[in-house]
């Protein structure tokens, strides 16, 4: 089994981000970066897949040197080797997918895991795009996965419930919360990861399909108003919602 897991390196959701001077990127000073949380489910599933079926897990990330931190953590969790598709520029989903698809095509794995979305830009597009570019099946937002004789049976989240689907290998899986409980890298794994290789590759030039024009922070919210703390406040609340907020 050849297993590829793609990870993105994103600002920690617990840190406050500011927009950089160019108005199109975030100011990275003092920002903690982490593995995108949905990618952690993808990593865990890729490792379980290997533990069950044998084989090798290759971790892939597209970005600059700081992404090595994320790759190192993936190696510490148990991936066998890592590939950094080195590209420092800002990317739209299409260019990210193109570079990953080129790499995946070359190594032709049995299965490719992604998080359902990267929590920085939230496009939720790369996994499915890669599948499309390679002409292989893609199952997104997966919460349960099994392999049976060359096929995968996956449960995915849909509005109000789950659906069960089957796909042949090779395929792309994008992971949703609930798929598993990601392991911590063990201290032994962390030390072992030092000796595992991170290969650097330069992806071919791609032209983006979407251009980023600018970023802005959400407008500050007006402070709330406490009308009262018990039932007696309800008539007043209804009145305000009707007359002032005009929502009812």
């Amino acid at each position: 089994m050849k297993i590829v897991v793609c990870t993105s390196h994103v600002p920690d959701s617990a840190t406050k981000v500011n927009i950089g001077g160019d108005g199109k990127t975030i100011d990275k000073a003092g920002v903690n970066f982490i593995i995108s949380p949905y990618d952690e489910f993808a990593i865990e599933e890729s490792l379980r897949f290997k533990e069950k079926n044998g084989g090798e897990v290759v971790a892939v990330s597209l970005g600059g040197d700081p992404h090595k931190e994320t790759l190192r953590k993936t190696l510490a969790m148990g991936a066998d080797k890592a590939v950094l598709l080195k590209d420092e520029s800002s990317q739209d989903s299409f260019s990210v997918a193109r570079a990953i698809a080129d790499y995946v095509k070359e190594v032709s794995p049995d299965i490719v895991f992604f998080g359902k979305q990267s929590i920085d830009t939230d496009n939720a597009a790369v996994g499915s795009m890669v599948a499309e570019m390679l002409g292989i099946p893609s199952v997104s937002v997966v919460v349960k996965l099994e392999m049976q004789s060359g096929k995968v049976i996956a449960e995915r989240e849909i509005e109000g419930g789950h659906e069960k689907v089957e796909a042949r290998l090779p395929c792309v899986i994008t992971a949703q919360k609930g798929l598993n409980e990601p392991r911590y890298p063990s201290l032994k794994g962390i030390m072992g990861a030092k000796n595992k290789p991170i290969e650097e590759r330069a992806p071919a030039a791609r032209s983006p399909k979407v251009q980023l024009l600018g970023m802005r922070k959400p407008l500050p919210k007006n402070p709330g108003k406490i009308v009262g703390t018990d039932v007696s406040a309800v008539p007043q609340l209804v009145k305000l919602l009707h007359e002032e907020a005009k929502v009812i």
């Binding site: 920690d12 617990a14 840190t15 903690n32 090595k68 931190e69 190192r72 953590k73 510490a76 911590y184 890298p185 063990s186 201290l187 032994k188 794994g189 962390i190 030390m191 990861a193 030092k194």
Partner: protein, 389 residues
């Protein structure tokens, strides 16, 4: 509450390797998710969270600087220190558990044990299939362990042990006790297995500190120890002191964790608590307290980092460790007390971690050499004059 991001006023992370940062962050996440949500309950009940033992072993928290062939992580000492810091940010009991298992049980077996003892015990202790304890202190010999009464006598292919130990962390739950006793007048280490006839380990109760840690007496009455259970390479008081030096190293880092927890809580509280129409953080007296805290934390971090680098390069002296244990625990306790004060009445509630850390640190200040004993150790080192008696 927002996720703990660490305290790093002097950008010391720049001096840490990727592995050191990853080890710290991993244990930080483990503590955040597994220790902090349950620790108050255990502290109140006076129980150790034994549900964490196996998870801690899986993470590799036991004997993590020892060789990989025993199932250990073979980390450097800075990474180990950072791990201790994060564990103690959860609770001193959790760090104590890891310290005892690693520095006071696995280390002496590794250092003074036979190949057979190492091959048998170290993998079991690393995986928490066995829990250990370290018995040095006696009811009448604390700061002066050299005066110990516990004795071993040779008899019929082994030894007979008589005496009693007190204040022994994990004694009651241990599968194996590293016990220090005099054999023909010389201090030697012995491995005493649970269930050995004549050996009992009743739990001590009534603690107001380290309540989430098990503390016990060890009683030996004509307890037969087979020849193969002596730590043959140990000899003299310096052997247990070498173990203590390992554990004190972890405490120097651990105290930082408690201090960080208290500082973080006090800083957040001061920014949100309104009195006289302003956050209390806007009063100069409160700011001075917070500045003291972050300054002492930063100084202690610098000390720990250099201490770790000295240890990793083989240049460490035990007096260096004494200085860091003495300083860092002292200031951690001061920080905890001041944090308690900043929280006002809320500071005594278990909704905040400060009172628990404060009470814990009272033990930490005393065990592994009291604050004053470390003063005397450093005093002797710089003057050449011992002042113990």
């Amino acid at each position: 509450m927002s996720k703990f991001q660490g305290v790093d006023y002097y950008n010391l992370d720049d001096h840490l390797s990727q592995e050191e940062i990853l080890a710290r962050n991993t244990v930080r996440a483990f503590v955040e998710e597994n220790v902090i949500p349950i620790i108050e309950k255990h502290y109140r009940a006076g129980t150790f969270p034994s549900e964490l033992t196996l998870k801690m072993a899986e993470l590799g928290l036991f004997g993590s600087t020892l060789p990989a062939k025993y199932g250990c992580a073979e980390m450097n000492n800075v990474a180990y220190g950072l791990v201790m810091q994060e564990l103690e940010r959860g609770d001193s009991a959790i760090r104590s558990f890891a310290s005892v298992q690693s520095s006071l049980v696995m280390y002496p077996i590794f250092e003074f044990g036979s190949e057979k003892q190492k091959d048998y015990w170290l993998p079991r202790l690393a995986s928490a299939k066995a829990i250990g304890c370290f018995g040095l202190t006696e009811p009448d010999f604390g700061s002066n362990p050299g005066g110990m009464i516990t004795r071993a006598e040779r008899k019929g292919g082994g030894f007979v042990l008589n005496g009693a130990k007190m204040w022994i962390t994990n004694g009651t739950v241990a599968d194996i006790a590293v016990v220090w006793a005099k054999l023909d007048g010389q201090i030697k280490g012995f491995l005493v297995e649970k269930g050995t006839k004549g050996f009992s380990a009743p739990e001590m109760t009534g603690k107001h500190s380290l309540r989430a840690s098990v503390t016990s007496e060890l009683v030996f009455q004509d307890c037969f120890i087979p020849e193969e259970n002596i730590l043959a390479k140990s000899g003299g008081l310096k052997s247990p002191l070498k173990c203590l030096s390992q554990a004190r190293y972890g405490i120097a880092w651990g105290a930082l964790g408690s201090a960080m927890a208290c500082y973080e809580s006090a800083l957040n509280y001061a920014k949100s608590r309104i009195q006289f129409d302003k956050p209390i953080a806007s009063f100069q007296l409160i700011q001075e307290k917070l500045v003291y805290m972050v300054t002492e934390i930063t100084k202690a971090q610098l000390m720990c980092l250099q201490l770790g680098r000295l240890k990793d390069s083989g240049k460490l002296r035990f007096t260096h460790v004494s200085m860091a244990k003495r300083n860092n625990v002292y200031h951690a306790l001061e920080i905890a007390r001041i944090a308690r004060d900043i929280h006002g009445a809320n500071g005594i509630l278990d909704e905040y971690p400060v009172m628990r850390h404060m009470a814990n640190l009272e033990s930490v200040k005393t065990y592994e050499g009291t604050h004053d004993i470390h003063t005397l150790i450093i005093g002797e080192d710089i003057t050449g004059i011992p002042a113990y008696t």
